[in-house]
Symmetry: C2
């Protein structure tokens, strides 16, 4: 399939809710004066449903509201309305296993960077089928490029938020693809590992699990939080501390987490190969199974179901 | 006027060209799948016209194409077409002294950060009346806040480009406004001064003019380039070298440059006041006059005129 066909497929499979109006994907349009378009002045969340139930919505909405606070984005829409509209869009889509992206912008304003010009939001909810990751990746692992030129903290004092400013990550994945890798992992200003373009990163050395700390310039992943809880419940040794590219490249096992990919092993970073498959990676197998159990045990609240 | 009224005024006064179709501002819409909206994956330029002539278009288009190169954005539209459409939009607007913003995005793609999914661009040309800056600011000067928490280089190896990722600057101006200043000036990772949210910054100490160097994490302003040329032609001592917030706060004169504001003096940064007005700032007066002469002498090429 070429890029145009992929876009057409997306249009065919998706539906979009713009400020409460559900529309066909190809008709889903926003003002070019929206601050999300002009400045990336927006925040968003992505989560998934399985079997007509939206997973971890509370956690994602909590983070959305935290993002809003960090960038001083006033939300004029009630949280309940946003949740109701999300469920309504899912229901309308009739997709049992869906991807849902909720975007909230500072709305249209006169052309000025000053966010105090804002007086309303625009919200956009995109629903499409959950992407199917190649199952081989879960047994063989992903190939990452370490792209040290793409630093991931543009700020000292500000928590990283899920915003409409993703150009750095776009360029990081571009470098990785050029070098024939699947995706990219980045460092922060201090030269320590932070995260990937759309995922958190973890390494295992002996029986200790490591992941960069919250203040390393990473986005606090919902799946990352779940893995932290799993480690704690199962008395696994987890250290949230800074580590260098050298540490990462000499680790025993490396894996990534994201809401979409869940727990995915890493086969290779740069020239380093971590092993020949999931059978060799005991800790990843364990965590991956524990995470699956957690998902399976998840009791769907009535308000998150759209059957 | 409240924020809603300001937006309505913008709608009334502007016209927009989207991919060659001129439309009313309030009807100017773009797909929510455009990468400019989803990721800020776009570049842009702003310039101005006076008396039906578009100024320094060549310089702005040169920079647009440089920005494209830096972020690997393929431009599928011919430069001549973009220029012709810009002039056509200006002509249609009938505005003699106009603001023009040209935005170029990586188009709509399936939802992926990978820019290799792109197969076309979207371009948007916004034309509206040139904003009138309060003339008092040219005699009394602007008040800037030094916002040291908003670092301006997110990258080590990459030149800063005029992209759709402006959230950092949105937040910097927000902090400045909260502290009752007009705008913000930022530092880079090394703690040196880089630029303002939408302008370059300069200081004068004795008879020497200073501005941060190209590799300090600044956007190379077109007006900055003109001032550099003016310094050279008039044998003024210009040093393009890094300086600290302390240096800036102990300077004799400080000014900013941008295409819209041209040369504007600074009255105050944080607690430091530089003087009581333009009569005290000899170097700023000189440079401001030389810049005005340069603009007056500008011979409008036929292809940049829309009378």
């Amino acid at each position: 399939m070429n890029n145009k066909d992929r876009l057409d497929k997306l249009y065919k499979e998706s539906i979009v809710n713009i400020n409460g109006v559900i529309t066909k994907a190809e008709d889903a349009k926003i003002s070019i004066f929206d601050r999300g378009f002009l400045y990336g002045d927006s925040i968003y969340e992505v989560t998934y449903s399985e079997d007509y139930c939206l997973y971890f919505l509370k956690e994602h909405f909590d983070r959305l509201y935290e993002s809003a606070k960090v960038i001083n984005l006033d939300i004029y829409i009630d949280r309940k309305t946003l949740i109701k509209e999300s469920i309504r869009t899912l229901k309308e889509s009739k997709i049992p296993n869906a991807y849902i992206r909720i975007i909230l912008t500072r709305g249209e304003t006169e052309i000025t960077l000053d966010p105090n010009s804002s007086f309303r939001n625009n919200y956009i909810i995109i629903v499409k089928p959950k992407p199917k990751y190649n199952q081989v990746l879960y047994s063989k692992g992903l190939k990452l490029a370490l792209v040290s030129s793409f630093i991931n903290t543009s700020n000292t004092n500000r928590t990283i938020v899920k915003s409409g400013n993703y150009l750095n990550n776009v360029l990081a994945i571009n470098e990785a693809k050029k070098r024939n890798f699947d995706d990219a992992v980045m460092v922060n200003n201090d030269g320590n590992i932070t995260e990937g373009t759309t995922f958190n990163i973890w390494m295992v050395r002996g029986n200790t699990i490591y992941t960069p700390p919250n203040d390393s310039g990473l986005l606090k992943g919902i799946t990352r939080e779940k893995i932290i809880q799993i480690c704690s419940k199962n008395n696994l040794i987890l250290k949230m501390e800074n580590f260098s590219p050298e540490d990462l490249l000499s680790a025993d096992e490396v894996f990534i987490t994201s809401s979409g990919r869940q727990v995915m092993p890493i086969y290779q970073i740069n020239d380093k190969i971590y092993g020949e498959g999931i059978n060799e990676w005991k800790m990843i197998s364990l965590l991956s199974n524990k995470y699956k159990e957690l998902v399976e045990k998840y009791k769907c609240k009535k308000e998150y179901s759209y059957l």
